[in-house]
Each structure stands twice: as structure tokens, then as C-alpha cells.
Amino acid sequence: MKKSFIVLILIITAFLSSCDDLEQSVDSNLPYVEKLIIQGQFGINSRNLSVSVTKSLPPLEELTLEKVTIKDAVCKVYYKDKVMNLIHQGQSIYVSEDTLTLEEGVEYRLEVKWKDKVATASTTIPILPEIISVKEKKIRKWGFDQITYEFTIKSRDKGMIKISETDYNYSDYGFQLIDKIDNEYKIVLTDPIYDENPNNISFEMVLTDIQYYPYYQTRYEGDSDGGIFNNGGLNVEGNVKGNNVFGIWLGSNYLIGNIETYLK
């Protein structure tokens, strides 16, 4: 009888306890590794080189620009046989002291020093491909017949390419990998055209250093959108090297033209 009573008490206790919330806050700190965060992207038409230099914070800390901004980093860019100092301009941005003319095919090497951390990266503005031809192409998208244009290009350099209408060139999707030199590729405009007169359509071709590829593939990783199933625990891949540093340093080449010029 006594045993039965004990068992009964256990069962009642268990039922009551099992109603508790199974998601709970944890009073624990995650291990913290401070990282130097570098972000620099520039086009051939830029008059200055600029780079954002910040630091990371413990994962549970709220981010503010003030907390992450680093004002005392030493930033230099080496190119050809020259050195250009980048000076803190405000917020997290460091900008080159003097204006300069950037060139395709030239390597720009970045060096950022802050405390015991040294970040290095290099990028080369790739040479644009030759446009061999442009053809009008009818496609069916979202249930409608639409027009787009297919470019046939011959690569002169490796890189990540995107061709878009100049009015729609701000998004970061639609890049394609050019992984062979002297090879023909067919590139389609990223968005369908609504204006059927090619005279009215200008396009922008962007060719970014091929080091952009791993970043492009992983750029949506590491988002802090919460939940155990939303995050695979993968990091964005950059091309900045060094201990406890992360970031990108990439140069791009541009061409703006009119569809009509190349249309066959």
C-alpha cells in the first residue's frame, strides 16, 4: 500500500511538472571571439578607395554603430609601387587621402592594423569581356510573355558578371561565374524588359573580382533571424585574411551601354 502511494505521488508530480514550458531562457554566456570586420568594395570609376573597419561584439550584446566603430586603425593600400593611406572619415569609414585613378588589371592590396590584429587582402579589377552580340529573346515569366536580351560575350578575365538594365542594377542577385578566359558565355539580362524599344534601354555590365564568388554564395548566412531551424551555423566567406579577422575587399569593372548598339 505504501509503495502504491509513493508511485501515485510520483505520477501526480510528474503530470504537474510536464506542463512546464519547454523553451526557456538560459543564463549563460557564449564564448566570445572578437573579430576585426573589414568591408571594402570599389568600382573602376571610383575616385577614392574606402573601407569600413569595425569590430564584432559578444553575440548577446546589442549592436550600435558607436560600439563597433574603430577610429584608430591603420589602413593602407599598396598598388604598383605606391602606398596610399586611408584616413578615418566618420562612422566606420576610412577613405584614401588623395583622389586616384583606378586601373583594370592592377592589384590593390589592403592592410589594416588594429591592436594585435592584422587584416590583409588583395583584389584586382578584372578586364571586361568583349560583347560579341546581343539577341532579343522572348521568355515566359510569372505567367506573361516578356522580352529580354541575351548577350554573347568572350571573357578576357575571370570574375562574377551581371548585366542588368541600368534602372534595375541595385540588387545583388543575378551574378554568374566566369571561370575561364577566352571563352564564350551567354548572359541574359537579370530582369525582363517592359519597354519594347531597344533604343530606350541602357544596360550596365558589372564584372567583379572572382574572389566575390564564395562571398556571393554565402552572403545570406549568419543572419540573426533567430530560431533553431533558420540558421545553419554557417559563416559568410570573405577574402580578407588574418587571425580573427573577417571581411571582403573587392574591385569591380563597369560598362554602361545601349542595347541598340549591340543588337543584331
Binding site: 509503495k3 508511485v7 510520483l10 505520477i11 508530480t13 510528474a14 503530470f15 511538472s17 510536464s18 512546464d20 519547454l22 523553451e23 526557456q24 531562457s25 538560459v26 549563460s28 557564449l30 564564448p31 566570445y32 571571439v33 572578437e34 573579430k35 570586420i37 568591408q39 569600413s52 569595425t54 569590430k55 564584432s56 561584439l57 559578444p58 553575440p59 548577446l60 550584446e61 546589442e62 549592436l63 554603430l65 563597433v68 566606420s92 541595385y170 545583388d172 554564395q217 554565402t218 549568419g222 543572419d223 540573426s224 533567430g226 530560431g227 533553431i228 540558421n231 545553419g232 551555423g233 554557417l234 559563416n235 559568410v236 573577417f246
Partner: protein, 760 residues
Amino acid sequence: MKYILLLIIWVLPFSVLSEEKYSISGIVNDDTSKEAIISATVALYNDSVINKDNFVKGAYSNKFGFYSLPNISSGTYYLAVSSVGYKIKLTKLTVANDDLRQNIQLESVSVMTQELTVTADRESSPTSSISSISISPSFVSKMPAFGGEVDIFRTLQLLPGIAAGSELSSGLYVRGGSPDQNLILLDGVTVYNPSHLAGFISSFNNDAIKDIRMIKGAFPAEYGGRLSSVLDLTMKEGRKDKVGGKAGISLISSKLTVEGPINENSSFMISGRRFYFDLLLGLITNDAPTYYFYDFNAKANYKLSDNDVLYVSGYFARDVFGVNENDNDDISVNWGNSTANMRWMHIVNPELFTNFSLVYTDYIFDSNIGEEDVIFNTGSRIRDIVLKGDAQYLAYDNHIIKTGADITWHNFNAKANFNESNINEADFLGEGNINTFDIALYAQDEWKATDRLDVNYGLRGYYFQQGNYLDIEPRLSATYLTGEGVRLKGAFAVANQYIHLVVRNNISLPTDLWFPSTENILPSRSYQGVLGAEMNIIDDTYLISLEGYYKKMDNLLEYRDDAEFTLGIPLEEQFTRGEGRAYGIELFLNKKIGNFTGWVGYTLAWTKRQFDDLNNGKEFYPRYDRRHDISVTLNYEFSDVWELGLAWVYGTGQAFTMPTSTYYWREDYDYYNDKYQFSDRNGVRLPAYHRMDLNFMYKFKAYNLPWVLSINIYNVYDRRNPFAWYINNEYDPQTGDYKKQLKQITLFPIIPTLGLSFEF
């Protein structure tokens, strides 16, 4: 004179042979059910006093209960036969100028004291038993079980060297290997994905199982095709004395087993189980998704003659999931295994035992998502047809030679298509079909080199058509019994695996595809070495065992970090190849006799993986790596009425990938997005896992039948074990701001359940 000499030389061999030698052989059965008894010890003595001085020779019954003692001179002997849970039986017999067939029937006894036996503890045990453990299904049934659902795999997870992937998984992670590296055999048939509820419950019904054997590594040449371990399950044959069975009901499922004679030469066993949580949920809400599973085991045998028995067995399991809205199934997912096996046991003569099998196995996964008029259908399927034969040659005193061959035809299929009712045909997006076959041959010798030294050596050869692979696997194991009663053990084995299960996020799901080796996907290969020692202590009531192992694995497969699961992209291109290694020591203390039985197991282990394309090429721990793993099991009979099963586990926290810092990332137009930098792959440890489960069993009689009421309490002290951690942005009503908060998901708090069963 010369002719006389020649005559003597010619006659001499015959005169030597004139001292004729005979065999004693037979089958060991249970005296009531007539089920064959596996691994019974058979020993022949000169006298009814059983001691070393009178010992002539010994043997073990095989999986069919058959034993053979060769090369016996004419005379009178005493045959002692014993097995776990049975009274020793001593039979006087006379060998008189002929082979003797002596079947033995053993009387079962209350086996509270002997439910679990490590095969290696038996005197003169076969060396194939290194790293081998045998557990009786009745012991499994007494262990605490989640929801009252007795689970063989969950009990095996309590053994040293075998880890649980997570609380959600019944998968067996044996000595650093993943669950697909385990060869799981049911009556000799390979079973793929043997789980229900997406891996939560193993799909084997304990009531239908007669024998459970686990070999944790360095297995002998008779087994192959997997890297890590062998789980060899034998189904009940069906009792031959009367129709009987067992029925059970718990909060989430019901099951029924019926067995009995068909006629004097044949018997059957059929067992079924149905998970009905969906029905209970349906009483509460109409919106709940439909989910249930069921499985059936069936076996029949027919004794054709004293030397021939035909067995037919089958196994069928299905999981069914559906979301029902507006009377249309928007989502329906089904998966499961079917196997069929026809086996012929044939005793050619007392020295040659054979069995031949024709096997069919079919694993199918099928999902339909969509409305009534347009359904997106995906599916995968593996079908194997196997023809195999094994032989045991028992003519030598100190050798048992085993050999065998099998040929397996595999068909792998994966498909995706839209079924549109208005066009009345399927729009196939893609379908992959691979047909291939493999051939395996083996030969092994269990050699008793001296009274103290046993050696098992063998070779296994493989040919896998896809990729044209031909591999030879050497296997060697040895035990040496010292004068102090310590059994020293050592083993080495090479194993290859040609069929791979590539799992996403370390969580095994029925959607995961088994993929064969191809020209690009090389076979996985493992090299494993084991060293150990064991001995019985305190009047043989305890067995203490210590084993150390090192396992190297090549050509392991994982999905690449940037794997794309878009239709049309060959899956093969999404894999990356790497290597692994695992090493550790296992301590096992097993109490076999007394009022309470059970064991304490401790494992100190390291499991590591290295892939050039993952974690920047750096070595990492898989999620299931446990530095320390402790398990305690206990079975205690308070009285004739009350019995207690207890299990307590402790394990180092899971390896987990977590953010180690947060940073601003400047997007277009000066917009800053906050992001996380994560640790190395599985570079952070969650807190330790520990839990105690209890099972109170109350035995009573009603309607002239024996009943057992089981009161299972899972997670008795309500430990909030972490399944996962994540960072959540929580709204703070006091400040009106969002604040980051580290959150923990716990799967199961304390959960009590009741179960009721009876036998008839």
C-alpha cells in the same frame, strides 16, 4: 618378407583409422516452446562429475540451435548443455560405431539473475565475441521506455561505446560511426532506415524478437558491407506446443503477438503494432496533422526432415503522415520497409551445416504536396534481391570453418514530378535510376590454437559493379586466457561500405537518400583495432571488461556547406568527401547474478571528422561526439509482485555550432545589418545531458492470465536537458526595445505513462 612389409605399410593407415571416430550432433531447443536456443554451451564429459579433468570437448549451438562434436571415440559419455535462463541438462549417452544425433531440450528457469550475458564471459567462448554483446528481449522489456514503448535501440544506447545522437533519435552511433554504418540484420535481411517517427522509435517490435546480438566493431569475416557495427536480430520462430501470445497497450500504441503450431512439423509467429497517437490527438483537435505508424513481423517454419527446415519470414513497417485541410490531403508522406526471406537450413552431415536464403527488401519513401488538381510528388526507393548461402564445417576438433557467398541486386530510384489532373499525365522533372549488383565471399576459421588461445581469422572479398570496385578485407581476432582468469582480447578488421546515407544537419530523416558508390563516390573504408581484457569477479557474479579501440575511416560523405537541392542538379555533385577517426576506452561492469542485475558502463571517447570543403578544412567533432558517457541500468525484483527497471545516463554535452560574436555588415545604401560569426563547426558544447528513467512493474493475475502493469516515468527528476540553443530577439515591454536572449529548447520533461500487457 618384402611383401609382408608392403602389406603392413598399406594396412597401417587403415589400422590407424580403424579406431573409428564419430560425431555427436543435434539441435538444442526450449522444452516448452521448442524454439531453437542460440549459443547454448554443449560440453562432453567422461563422467557425470563435471569438472576439468573429465572434460572431453565442447561446442556452441549456432543460430539454428545446431551443435556438433566431431571425432568422438566409441564409449559412454555425459553431455552437459546449458544456456542463459535455462537449467543445465546432463544426458548420459553412448557412442557405438556410428554418428549420434542427440537433440537436447532445456527447461527454462526464472532468469531474474541472468537476463543479460556478455558472450565473451563464457568459458572457451568463440573469439568472434570480441566487442560483442547479447541482450535478451525480456531484459529489454523491463527497461524503462518512453511512452511505455519498449525499444531495442534505446536499450542498446545504454551500452558503453554506443551513443545516442540526440534525445530525438533512436539511431545507434557506435564507436564514432554514424547510424548508416551499422549493418542491421533481421533474420539475415538488411534493413534500411529501421525507425519510426523520423528516427525517434526503432521499428523492431521487441515481442517478435528472440535474440539480439550487437558487435561493436572489428567483426568477423561472416559480416560485412558496413564500417562500424553489426546488429543481428533473430525473430521468434513460433512456439510448437500450443497457441499463445502476448498483448500490450500503452498510451501511444498497442501490440499483439500470436504464435503457435500449425501441425507437428511447423509453427508460426505473427506480431503487429500500431501507434495511435493521432487518434488520441483527434479527440482533442481536428486541426492536428495525421501521423501514425504500424509494423508487422511474421515467421513460419516447416520441418521437412530431421536435416531440413524451411523458414519463411517477413517484416513490414510504414509511417504515414498527412496534413488534412478541406477534405483534401495537402501533404502526405509515407515511408517504410518491407522484407521477405525464405531460408532453407540443411544439415548435410554432422560435420557440415548449411543454410541458403532468398531475400527481398524494399525501402520506400513517397511524398505528395499540393492541392487536389496539382500535386508535387517526390520519392525514393531501394530494392534489393539477395541470394546467399553459408556453410559451417565442423569436422575438426580445433577448427570451425565458416564460409559463404552472396549476390545482391540493388535498384536505387529517386524521382520528382508534378501530377496535374487536367492534363492527366505526370510531368516528370527528374528521375534517377541506378541498377547495380555486388558479390561477397568470405571464409573464416575459428581456431582453438591452445587451451588458452583462440584465434579467429578470415577474409572477405567484395565486388561492387557500380564503379567496378574489388576489395579484400582481412579480419583477425584473438583471445588469451591467463592463469589468473583474465581474458586478453585483440582484434583488427578492415571493412568497406558501398552504400551511403548522406544526412543533412546530423538529423536522420526518412527523406535522406541512400546513395551507392559510383565512379566518383568511392567506397568508404574503415580500419579498426581493438585491445581489451575482461574477467569474472566475486564468484562470477560480476563481469568486468575494459576495451580500447581506434578506428580510421576514409571516404566519408557529407553534404557540402553550399549544397543545392534544386531539381535537376545531380546529387552526386552536392557531396564532399572526407575522413574520420574515433578512439576511446570502454569500461563495463555487469552484474549478472543476484536479486538485482544490471550494469555500469563508462566510455571515454573522441570522434573527429576532417573534410577539405567543410570547416575550412579543419578537423571538427560531429554533433554526437561525447567525451564522457556513463550509463547505469538496474533491474530489481522487490517481490513476486513488484519489479523495478532503472536507467540513468550522463553524457558530455552535444557539440554544437553557435555564434561567438555579432557584427554590423554594411549593405547597400548605408544600411547596416546585424549578423553573426559562428564558432567552428560544432565548436561549442551544450551543457551535459543526464536523465533517470524508472519502470515499475506490477504483476498480477486476472482472468487466469498473467498481467503486468508498467508505470514508466521518463526523466524522473525533470532535468531540462538542452536539445538546442539559439539566440532570440525578444520584445521587452518595460523598455519597448528588443533584447537578445539565449534560449534553450528542451524536448522532454518528466513524462509518466502507463502500460498494460498480458500473456496467453
